[in-house]
Symmetry: C2
Subunit: 737 residues, 2 copies
Amino acid sequence: MRFLIPLISSSITSGHYRITSRLLSAHLTKPQRSTLHPFFNCQPPSMAASEESLRKALAEKQSAVEAHGNAVRALKAAKASKQEIDAAIEALNSLKLEKSSIEKQLHAAVSGSDGDGALSREAFRQAAVNTLERRLFYIPSFKIYRGVAGLYDYGPPGCAVKSNVLAFWRQHFVLEENMLEVDCPCVTPEVVLKASGHVDKFTDLMVKDEKTGTCYRADHLLKDFCNEKLQKDLTISAEKAAELKHVLATLDDLSAEALGAKIKEYGITAPDTKNPLSDPYPFNLMFQTSIGPSGLSPGYMRPETAQGIFVNFKDLYYYNGNKLPFAAAQIGQAFRNEISPRQGLLRVREFTLAEIEHFVDPEDKSHPKYSEVVDLEFLMFPRDEQMSGQSAKKILLGDAVSKGTVNNETLGYFIGRVYLFLTRLGIDKDRLRFRQHLANEMAHYAADCWDAEIECSYGWIECVGIADRSAYDLRAHSDKSGVPLVAAEKFSEPREVEKLVIAPVKKELGLAFKGSQKNVVEALEAMNEKEALEMKAALESKGEVEFYVCTLGKIVPIKKNMVSISKEKKKEHQRVFTPSVIEPSFGIGRIIYCLFEHSFYTRPSKAGDEQLNVFRFPPLVAPIKCTVFPLVQNQQYEDVAKVISKSLTTAGISHKIDITGTSIGKRYARTDELGVPFAITVDSTKDVTIRERDSKLQVRVGVEEAALVVKSVTDGLRTWEDVWEKYPHHTSGSADD
Amino acid sequence: MRFLIPLISSSITSGHYRITSRLLSAHLTKPQRSTLHPFFNCQPPSMAASEESLRKALAEKQSAVEAHGNAVRALKAAKASKQEIDAAIEALNSLKLEKSSIEKQLHAAVSGSDGDGALSREAFRQAAVNTLERRLFYIPSFKIYRGVAGLYDYGPPGCAVKSNVLAFWRQHFVLEENMLEVDCPCVTPEVVLKASGHVDKFTDLMVKDEKTGTCYRADHLLKDFCNEKLQKDLTISAEKAAELKHVLATLDDLSAEALGAKIKEYGITAPDTKNPLSDPYPFNLMFQTSIGPSGLSPGYMRPETAQGIFVNFKDLYYYNGNKLPFAAAQIGQAFRNEISPRQGLLRVREFTLAEIEHFVDPEDKSHPKYSEVVDLEFLMFPRDEQMSGQSAKKILLGDAVSKGTVNNETLGYFIGRVYLFLTRLGIDKDRLRFRQHLANEMAHYAADCWDAEIECSYGWIECVGIADRSAYDLRAHSDKSGVPLVAAEKFSEPREVEKLVIAPVKKELGLAFKGSQKNVVEALEAMNEKEALEMKAALESKGEVEFYVCTLGKIVPIKKNMVSISKEKKKEHQRVFTPSVIEPSFGIGRIIYCLFEHSFYTRPSKAGDEQLNVFRFPPLVAPIKCTVFPLVQNQQYEDVAKVISKSLTTAGISHKIDITGTSIGKRYARTDELGVPFAITVDSTKDVTIRERDSKLQVRVGVEEAALVVKSVTDGLRTWEDVWEKYPHHTSGSADD
């Protein structure tokens, strides 16, 4: 995924072209726009309306309470009758109750339509994260040195999950599609990232505490201020609330100046010290270093893996027999020197990306395997639905492509493949949606862009970006390197084409423009067909035209004898063009974190005295596929366990033997917490039981068969239901005790 | 693999302790000592002797030629008879011939005992590297921008080989041994690498061209000078040659001053400009960067993956149920900002390491699976053999351990496992040896260290280091972080132990030594048992002793009333200790490059008009396992090919269909060059042929069986010989045409 860098992007708000120095396109490590834009929420539009009316009602009720309070005081001062005063007080109390009720409703409304939900999401996350960290799925890096924000280690089970996810990614994309996988270094010389635009534009706006020098992300401070105000200060007017919401919605589009102005206007200070803040200024997010000993060759740790593929396009195209389409892929580390990382595994300074660059002829974006995904139906969130305040809905992929909602077949094909990939990993399909970028989110050159967003306790998180980036990247590297990164379509027989020929007459131009001759020649040659033919017509009718030379910044007169414009017929044997690229880009760490949340649940222990944690990982991603438990400590059983362990190793099934004397229930609980799908318990030398994690059901299987049964389910050759049907059930009450 | 850092190392040459500021221990990315030390060569010692006598003979012959030349001139001047002069000239010519013959012998001797061998090694490497780069096994990174020295991309087949090697590594080590795999970031804060010693000591000595500023590795320049002199200047005396060889042998031990002095003495100048050079100074080889926006948190790209494991020891020990031994493992990128990288894939600035840290009780280094490797026999090169000028020889691993050549069972076990790993990948066992580090190569804290060295066209290359590093790393991080990284052995019942108690009497010491009291107290408390008991005896007999306080640098008198020394009995419930670590560390890129060379061969085409390239990769590492070729372009055959392709995909066998109309022989040649072991050729709709790459033998197999046959051989369930025995042979002459 590129985080690029629309130098000129058409804005939906102003309707004209403008220059922007900030990143507009969403990307893996930017904040979720969905949490900023109210119309991205799943919350129906009526909710927002009710919030507004509640604020108005609250303000009215507040006035009424005050007026009534004054009335009561007046009655008391006027020594009115006790009856009169009591009646007035009763009315006042009833008004206060109404006010308090409105406050509660408003509070619920601003906390995302269900205040309890937000609380329980937070509690759920805490439970999941506690389990994840305690069982070493992941841990803050360099913990004994008090860690570094935004850097995490995967411990043994997390590392196994990651390696399973990557192995499946390779199987599902690289092998299945015959992609050309490459492996390029992280250390990247400046010239490459200059061409891609990262050196100049890959920045976030930063402010500094003017006294301590502590750095903050400017948009984070403004965002936190607005959210806090909206959620905690119920007295603000509906107008003020609308203004704050507008700021949140347009946060990503604000220039440094506009951001700075808002920070000043709201009186935002440094969160820790309350000191004044500097003006916002851009901070480049790449880790910089120096290549070689001279100190003269700046380099960066790559912010994405894609550039390594683009610079190799020529070789890869040749490797593919000079044929299109083909895809190249890369899995590797990427780096981003975040100003102040938050949100655990979702916003980190080093992460694993898996990226695909699928190169196609821009005139033919069909896909040979498109028919395989055409019938998939899942949550999609097209641009129009977002703009009109609707929510994501189930759409047939084939319909989305045929109606033009999704720009082309190849893009549609990859959206379908990504859906299959994520759901097979264990992502809940009801908390997965494909959101189309709004026009102002996309780079100007992009044809279309969809994000696979997964809902977790932090909201909807962009985990995969799928973009049709047209020819932008290859052109950028062609221009900078001087090496043409193009493809050719050979014609079966030569074709006659009409070509525009613009021939400036240098002698005449030299006489007329002297030192500026070169600029004028270049400007003439750069005309497109329409401009050239208009000039030709004008020169023929008037003999002279006015012509704007942008490199000179002025209009010059062009006479008929200074340029010859004609159309000539030529035979061409091939069509040379820059391929378009369709780029699915996977944030592996984000996918894994969402998978952790979607897999986590708790259930009461048999005794009912505690909640036990379970990860319902499918065997495909489970860190360990199987445990082997001798029921009691006993040499015979341990020998059987070793035999089974050996067969499991031969079958390539990762497993663990646990010969501790701990109760079998505790041992089950321990491995449920690691998401191990199957447990083989040895309670005889002939038959053993196999227990399935989520149903807790057990079957009896012969010792020599046990490994094969586990392997067949793990490899997806049969389901647990098949096993349950075929083998005798184990009904002993001892399980899970 | 740590490249550490013997601050004080016992030198075999001088026999006393000395401080050295350079790295002594060999490591993955340092030059091969074997190419520097004459006694590391496989060349027998007699060869070195013959070189010396040849130099002497040449010098004598040169004098004889000069003397005879003068004699001839004298005869001519004296107008001697033609007969006399002719006879003298004939003798002179015969002397010249003898001199030239000695020159040739000497030349052969200095080029490593066989000059033709060196040439053919160079030609072999050129052929292999050409094929590797042309078929995109690997390519210089950022080629369109003219590349960066020491950075390489793996293209599609190389990337597949790498991913196969890593998958097998994970299977062979992590799964088979139940290791705890972790995945830590590359970006590392300074404090971690300060503790490990890398910030201060991970340097190479550099010199600069004093006019242009170009940087060179000081030892490279000196090495090149010596080698060039030895090989090209045959006139140098035997004494001079011995001196140069001594310089080469001790190159790694030279201090900055000594290196600088040699460079001055030999008049070495900058290779490109002949300008004078600066004095050598240390250059830190880590890529430096800055973490976060403040610029106040320096960080580095890790130079090895091991530190990530050490800092997590406490959590991993807990995860393992607080039990030893256990091993943790990590695969990941490491970085080293080489001054001037050479030798292609062998010396790079970014590389993949796979490291194991096996933690053991220092009092028990046995290994439960040691018996599985005890009967392995392979080339070992113990310290003594190196010192006495012998060569590596086949040794039974069990003997090496039982005789104490290999320090302990666990170290021996890993040596055996590494041997199995490398040979199963396809490394030629006759070009693989395990070389023990010499005493001056090892860090002072290391118990023993063996390198798996693989011979390729560059000589013997260190590809895996297997070191018993004792408790050094954990202690370093305990000291720096203040977090104890220790293990405990719980006693089944409390043990009574006698403990030495040294109790300085501070009051008396204060009176006697005033401000120096603290130093004396610390020195007394630091005494070991032997010293303390000697002092106790002396105090009892004499009442006063002389005591050297190193922090004061002087001897002080200690009286009987100043310290009480006694032995007391205590009950202990556990023994707390810092575990030892045994560290096998794999340079994956180096192993892959050697594997490329060991797998590469050429054979004549059937027509005999050209040499065809083949990689004899075993199926385990082959980038693609199988190709599917319809014999001729034909819809029926293509349909069959697609059916087979689908079964191969289901079976998880990476493969490629080639439906081009190219001759079948050309298609075979193309895939032999990628090392594809099997080709399925579709020449009917019922049966197909399967061809094995190296034997070129073909069998006929039913369409529906083809994928399974290939899978069974690829998975190692049967051999090609089994298949050849079972299925009818295909004898058509059309194959390979």
